[in-house]
Symmetry: C2
């Protein structure tokens, strides 16, 4: 049975990446060592991490005045590191369009009990279970604020920001965890971008942080590990990095560049792939999308529901038995969620649509 992994993350990796990883697991390019056991100071790993950065810079067109870091702790640790490094003594605005944006704001409030800065909720769509990207009046933003934080893709709710909002000149910090490399963004529009790897980059355990140099802190932070300047100046080698996770990420970057042809092509593939599902849901009287506006639709995470919770549960059960794994929606939204990240195969969407049609026929 073919397995399609619809997991919201950790998520499907490209088949050629897994093949290469398997082939060289015990002996990386004739070194006689696995990358799993290789010194992070070895020439072999030095090349891996530098190539990873180089290819990511090419893919995202990252300007030279931005630093690229491969850190640990996931986006969740960035919820602390971002305000700690960027916001001290200032205001920091949070645009909350989903559960993870809310977590970022909540962590900022927690940090603000110890570190002097002022987290401000700019706008939120929590009242309607984040069924749309909230809007706001730019004039309400203090132009002296440190940043406006936003989430470019809401993994749980299936919404995304493709056109950045007017922030009254205040720099934007983005959690891009669930659509980095799946949509084209202009890095220069951001002061800082961060992304946990486990959706479109690689395995869980490494987090990409891209920061404009002039936003690096001048004062030491309370912990070297949480200090962007220390991490950036050490080239992500302040301490032992998650080397294997970086290696797999490098293979994924190579795949996007060489097999796909770059981010614009990847983004086009993602749009076409997700449109197959969105178009089907739209013409159906049985399935509906909880996302309010078509313009807010994520190409990566597509939630949908049947007419009842019982049918949702039955759908998930039958789908699972047929090899459509991890398609159950997050408990806050319910129903189903098809996460169609970059490496998710188009055939998997076609097969899902066949099953959805059959299920609709049987239960409408």
């Amino acid at each position: 049975m073919t397995i399609y992994n619809f997991s919201a993350g950790p998520a499907t990796l490209p088949k050629p990446v897994l093949e290469q990883a398997q082939n060289e697991l015990r002996n990386y390019q004739g070194s006689g060592m696995s990358v799993l056991e290789m010194s992070h100071r070895s020439p072999e790993f030095d090349k891996i991490i530098k190539d990873a950065e180089k290819t990511l810079r090419e893919l995202m067109d990252i300007p030279d005045n931005y630093k690229v870091m491969f850190l640990q702790g996931g986006a969740s640790l960035q919820f602390t590191m971002v305000p700690l490094n960027l916001a001290q003594g200032k205001k920091a605005y949070y645009l909350v369009g989903g559960s993870w944006g809310k977590k970022a704001y909540t962590e900022a409030l927690k940090l603000a009990k110890t570190i002097p800065f002022e987290p401000i909720l700019l706008a939120s769509s929590e009242d309607t279970v984040y069924d749309h990207i909230p809007t706001f009046d730019p004039a309400t933003i203090d132009p002296e604020a440190a940043y406006v934080h936003l989430t470019t893709n809401n993994t749980i709710e299936g919404t995304a920001i493709y056109e950045l909002p007017d922030t009254n000149g205040v720099p934007i910090v983005a959690d891009m965890s669930s659509n980095i490399l799946a949509a084209r963004y202009n890095v220069e529009d951001f002061a800082l971008i961060y992304a946990g790897a486990q959706k479109n980059i690689g395995p869980a355990g490494v987090t990409v942080v891209i920061v404009r140099e002039d936003f690096l802190n001048d004062q030491p932070m309370l912990s070297s590990m949480l200090d962007y300047r220390i991490q950036a100046e050490a080239g992500s080698l302040y301490n032992t990095p998650p080397a294997y996770n970086i290696y797999i990420s490098k293979l994924v970057f190579d795949w996007v560049k060489n097999e796909i042809g770059g981010v614009d092509k990847m983004a086009a593939i993602e749009r076409e792939k997700s449109a197959l599902l969105y178009d089907f849901i739209e013409q159906s009287d049985f399935y509906t999308s909880p996302v309010k506006f078509a313009k807010d639709r994520s190409v990566c995470n597509i939630p949908f529901v049947t007419p009842s919770k019982d049918l949702d549960a039955q759908f998930v059960k039958e789908a699972d038995a047929l090899g459509f794994k991890n398609i159950k929606g997050h408990r806050s939204v319910g129903g189903m969620r098809a996460s169609l990240y970059n490496a998710f195969p188009r055939q998997g969407v076609l097969d899902l649509l066949e099953f959805m049609k059959k299920f609709e026929e049987e239960h409408k």
Copy 2:
């Protein structure tokens, strides 16, 4: 050519572990998925992380009133998390027997500029380049202090603490990164043990933390990710864990248990293996150990020098060409360092001794 990887970390992994990892890389136990792409909420990964914890508990004989966590950020992030969670409003003593212990103390000083607690240098052997484990008078320790921090094995300098010092009743916190599972310690003698995986556990990117429940913080910390109670109560799944790194660690725990027969047997193997090298160095007039006292010798990291720096450099160069990789000593100690962690093969020591004899003949 056979490659022997003497790296101080990331370090050699057991061959059967790498074989199993390679075999199931693309399809974990018939799931149709790689562990690299598997949801951390899946039944498959739930079993992996629970089995990892279970086997580690067996190996180290961890009592039920201790929590076991698999975190990110390496020992370096623990340098912050330990005082943040355990020391607020109290004194915390640091026994500094090596470069990493000094880093732990330095990070504590950094944190103390923001968080109210008092880091105190209990004793240090820095003056003699950490060539021995420093001693102290227990009566100088305030019995109300939060903890005495020590490093059980000094990776760079090749010393270790096998008999815990009298700390005047104050709980001991240990960085066990470089000899966990290579020597027997009684977990009940510690309030908290932490260890980066990349020496005796698995690949870099996961850190084991073992903490007695009554040392968990009552008050929320400034960041959820840095909050032991939150991490412990979430069973290391507060956010997406470094799943693959935990999976490889589980395979290593299984290897120590099933192939070796437990920590006592592993420790005996480590003692015998390292004694081969120590005995040879001792009888030699050419090689010397920078470690002052035999009782302080690490079984995991064995530094040694020839009569001159030029010969040291030549040794490293010739050794490398013969497949003895990463044997160069840390710049602070110089010379050579053979890291003989658990997975390092005994034959590699015998082959190294042959080369050392030959090199001595040629240059004495």
